[in-house]
């Protein structure tokens, strides 16, 4: 069969096979989850918990009854105790803190080390002692993804024939469908926590989870979710979809180029759990700008953007400019002297 527009010829058999391949196995995109995460609190648990509300950022923070708090771990403003414990879902799981405050302080100091453009006074002006251990609410997503994908692929061969460079490009249509599984994708359920900061502090080893016991909150505070599992699922979907597409694309090998033509990803057995994950949080202000740092209380991974000293920036710029300019001038002189250029 010949295309009337571009004269490209196709084998009828190939077109027939392709039609069959498309019709026999196409996945309809469906990215929905079972979001029935969390459970009800028992009366005993409720009696051992106290809620505080931050009037500044609106955080509803939970402590065990023996812990008192005066400032919000998210914005450092004063917080007030509300009457008893204010409901919400009981977490399905919790990862207890493995690293203490001392490790968190060391982690912060290590985070500042070797940063040449960090303002020197930043180290001394921040209040490292105010670093707080917070259980941050996360939705944990498990799912199998079922995908069908279509790719345009080419194989290119180039050779010389007489005075001509001949390039043969073979065009292929490639189909892949199948499944893969994802487990324990965490998405933070707190509006007060910056999503990118929470993404950066990953990964958590969810396999080290334990069933939630309010006793784990002793000495720490816990935030309650204020973004629903349904709302957070969009971020989980994006991550699952991207990873599935990338993994399927990697199976298309032996080609010069591979371009995704069509992709349908559907979720199966998607389930959500409500979890509290351990983070050490430090809020600080420098030159009127707020900075928040977080350390994974399980792995010790420390993240948080640092301020840049403009003066140091230009000092390093001009120093490097002078040194490299001097070296390059020397090389140029040598090249000229030895008639290399």
């Amino acid at each position: 069969m010949k295309c009337p527009f571009c004269d490209t010829e196709f084998e009828m058999e190939t077109l027939k096979d392709m039609d069959e391949a498309i019709s026999e196995d196409t996945v309809t995109e469906d990215l929905s989850w079972d979001t029935n995460a969390g459970s009800e609190w028992s009366d005993d648990e409720l009696s051992g918990l106290t809620s505080y509300e931050c009037k500044s950022c609106g955080a509803k923070i939970t402590f065990d009854s023996n812990t008192t708090a005066s400032s919000c771990p998210f914005c450092d403003n004063p917080i007030v105790m509300t009457a008893g414990f204010v409901g919400g879902l009981r977490p399905d799981l919790i990862i207890p803190f493995k690293l203490d405050k001392k490790a968190a302080k060391e982690g912060f100091e290590k985070h500042l080390m070797g940063k040449k453009l960090l303002p020197p006074v930043f180290k001394t002006q921040n209040h490292i002692d105010e670093i707080k251990g917070v259980y941050v609410p996360f939705w944990i997503y498990d799912s199998d993804s079922d995908a069908s994908m279509e790719f345009d692929a080419t194989k290119t061969r180039s050779y010389r024939s007489g005075n001509y460079r001949i390039t043969d490009t073979d065009h292929y249509r490639v189909y892949r469908s199948g499944t893969m599984s994802f487990q324990n994708i965490p998405v933070d359920a707190s509006q007060k926590m910056d999503d990118d900061l929470m993404d950066s502090v990953e990964p958590f080893d969810i396999d080290q989870k334990v069933d939630f016991q309010s006793a784990y909150l002793a000495g720490f505070c816990a935030d309650k979710y204020d973004v629903s599992a349904q709302e957070c699922s969009e971020r989980a979907n994006l991550r699952v979809k991207n990873s599935t597409e990338a993994a399927f694309k990697e199976t298309v090998t032996g080609y010069t180029s591979v371009v995704t033509r069509n992709s349908n990803v559907s979720l199966q057995n998607g389930k959500t759990r409500y979890a509290l994950l351990p983070l050490w949080i430090l809020n600080t202000t420098w030159n009127g700008e707020k900075f928040r740092f977080a350390m994974n209380g399980q792995t010790g991974k420390f993240v948080g953007n640092l301020p840049c000293d403009k003066g140091l920036y230009w000092k390093y710029f001009f120093t490097t400019l002078l040194i490299s300019g001097g070296i390059l001038t020397g090389i140029l002189v040598l090249l000229l002297v030895f008639n290399i250029i």
Partner: protein
Amino acid sequence: MKKRIFYMVIALMLTVITVAVPCLPAKAEEEELGWSRVEGATDTQKFYDYADEIYDESEKEINDKLMALSKKYNIDVVGVICDDYPAEYAAKGDPIREFAMDFYAYADYYHEGQFCYDGIIFMLTLRDRSYALVSTGFVEGAIDSEGTEYIFGQVREDLSEDYFATAFREYANQVDVFMEAYEKGEPYINGKVPRTTGDWILYIGIVVGLALLIAFIRVSSLKADLKSVAKKTTATDYIVPGSLSLRKEKDYFLYRTTTRVKIESSSSSSGRSSSSSGRSFSGSSGHF
């Protein structure tokens, strides 16, 4: 005895023929070449505008300049613009170069009553926009093939804009620079070429540009050290190992496209070669 005399006569005739034929008047060769000797190829004309591309005033000015150079260094500095080379040259490997060499060789330039075998010729043919720039005699030691490439590089832009008079003026300037260096005993040969103000500006520009780039890369890298927060768009850390299972894996060949691109032979060639007169020339030729 008669036999001996006969052999001696034959040997003498062969010797005379062997020695004399290459020195025969150019008329026979001209017929063979198919073009006539250059009219007015004397020590009063060094520039020939057969294509009538240059105003008479400019033509005279360029000719005077080439004449002055020729006199200054006791060589022939020749310039030619023509519409095309003679048809019989078309079959030759490098027609413009062959024509330029023959043009120079058969022009019989001479100085103070003596033939001059040292010089340089810059020829343009407009039909196929080709050029040849070749030197001969001791001028080869002053302007070698790399030197001619360099000189052509200085006039290429003018030629591409059809500023022929400007190109020939620059040609004369460059020949003067090369010959002066030769007379000082420091010829620009074996890849050594004169450096212009433009070259120095380029060198300084490269040094400053690279230094700026290095400085920028360094401070950008130091600034990047301060950033450790970034959005995650994949869930690669959470894929269950070995869970990828393909249900369908089909690859269909659709069609083949073929492109053919002509490999352009180098737009210029350079080196040493001999004209049909037997004289050697160094230089370059190509298209502009």
